[in-house]
Amino acid sequence: MIELRDLTYVRLGTRDLDAAETFATRIIGLQVGERSKDALYLRSDQRAHSLCYFDGDPREQTVGFEVDDEDALMQAAGALEQLQHRVRRGTREEAELRHVHSFIAFDDLSGNHIELVTRPELSGRRYYGSRDAGITGFNHIGLFSKDPVADEKFWTTVCNARVSDRISEIALMRINKIHHTLALVKSDRSGVQHINHQVETVDDVMKSYYLLSKADIPIVFGPGRHPTSGARFLYFQGPDGMVFEYSCGVGEIEDETAHRPRQFGFEPTSFCMWGSKPGQLIPNA
């Protein structure tokens, strides 16, 4: 089994790095770790970076997960090749661009680009936001899935993810105590469905709601509260149509052995217990 330890980074292509930087700093509140002519590294916590924009096609989206070491990486490569996934080992230059020691790249069953990495770098300096958004760190992502049932099987049998709860076929999966690090959303396309950063308090969620509304940033969903994780959230739209989320209070699964995933129906209150509607974020909800 491939033991995923942590969700490490998201890499997004963009044709306008300046716009991405402005949005990431002024709106989201991330900190620029590093900026070159064709790449922007953004920090949200102690990591050297958790979000990277590179000069390229916005449809080029990659998610990185950390594994223990070289052995784990080799075993993962072997397991994936056995399942007919094409596995590519990253070059030294590519690893440096990702601020990791080494990595392998493959596509999941829906065509999402996944990288397994070793030794992702931390920074010596703590994260200090570009605005007082209250960000405590990059937390989780949603992934589009052409076949959520098959994808769930991959993440939970080939990898070590466990299902915490389901909303219809949408599996909210964890790789550690955090309620979910990965959520699969049915779609015809692949790619990153949303990128979540945790914030300190619900005050931060509400402050951002008013600030972003005033700045005419499209509010996609919320402010709301997920009945699944208990988190208070706000989803908003950024460059290239990517959806970002702030949330606070994502619950933890304390008892690994005893927890049984709950089933919620496919209706708006399963996504927000307060009454906010998910709109296009969850197609057909």
Partner: protein
Amino acid sequence: MTNRLLHSVAYVRIPTSTPIASSRFATEILGLQPVEGESSDLRFRTDDRFQTIVMTCTPQSEARLGIEVTDHEALDAAAATLTEAGFPWKYASDDECCQREVKRALFTKDASGNDIELVCAPRMSARRFFPSRDAGVIGLEGVGLRSVDPDRDLFFWTKILGARISDRVGDITYLSIDSHHHRIVLYPSKRVGLLNVAIEVESFDYVMQNNYFLKERQVRIVQGPGRDVPSGQIFLHFTGPERILYSFVTGIRRFADGPPRARQFAHNREALCAWGSECLDGVEFPELMT
């Protein structure tokens, strides 16, 4: 140290010219429990008391605020101090006390002319509070009052009735009479009367649930959801029939011995809401604007 004279906000009496609409609003929107029985008033519960929000079918009159005093001696003491300070007052008649479900009452006015009723022994209900919908209502929290004579009104509240100033935002003054940061807020205004009736709900979840519920029912939200800076109280202001401003509130700061020394905040947007919400009706409610 809690106040010796005043005990709690007992009720509000709100005049209505549209009793049917007001009654529907109180049950369907506010989620209050109607009180059964013969009365010319429309009576509603917010907690274990017999009646707290009362709508009176006397459209020409003004809203009246009922405050429970600690005991009968307190009522007599208030009468004496009011006389001494030159504020008009009279005892309520037996019928008036009956109507209000209190043992004794005294009617007075603050300097602005707001009708204030001091009461003894308001009736408790013998039955559990069962609201009309799951709005999370747990009580009548307090009120906002308009003031055309802030200095003399403060004299009335603090020197005569013994309330404490907990904080100020500009000249907006927060008054405390128990462990809550405030129960009454005085807003300098060009007119007199009740500004808002604050209804406490269980938690922030309920403020937000009510927010979306009100939006779906096309109830006019005037401000919020927001967070009051001095008290930390989360609020949602909205209007009902007759343009009365109601607020669902929760999370007010509480102090075992009453609030500490009053602080002064500048009267700007930042001090009116910690989250950045703004009043959307500056014409009807200029008191909530900067």
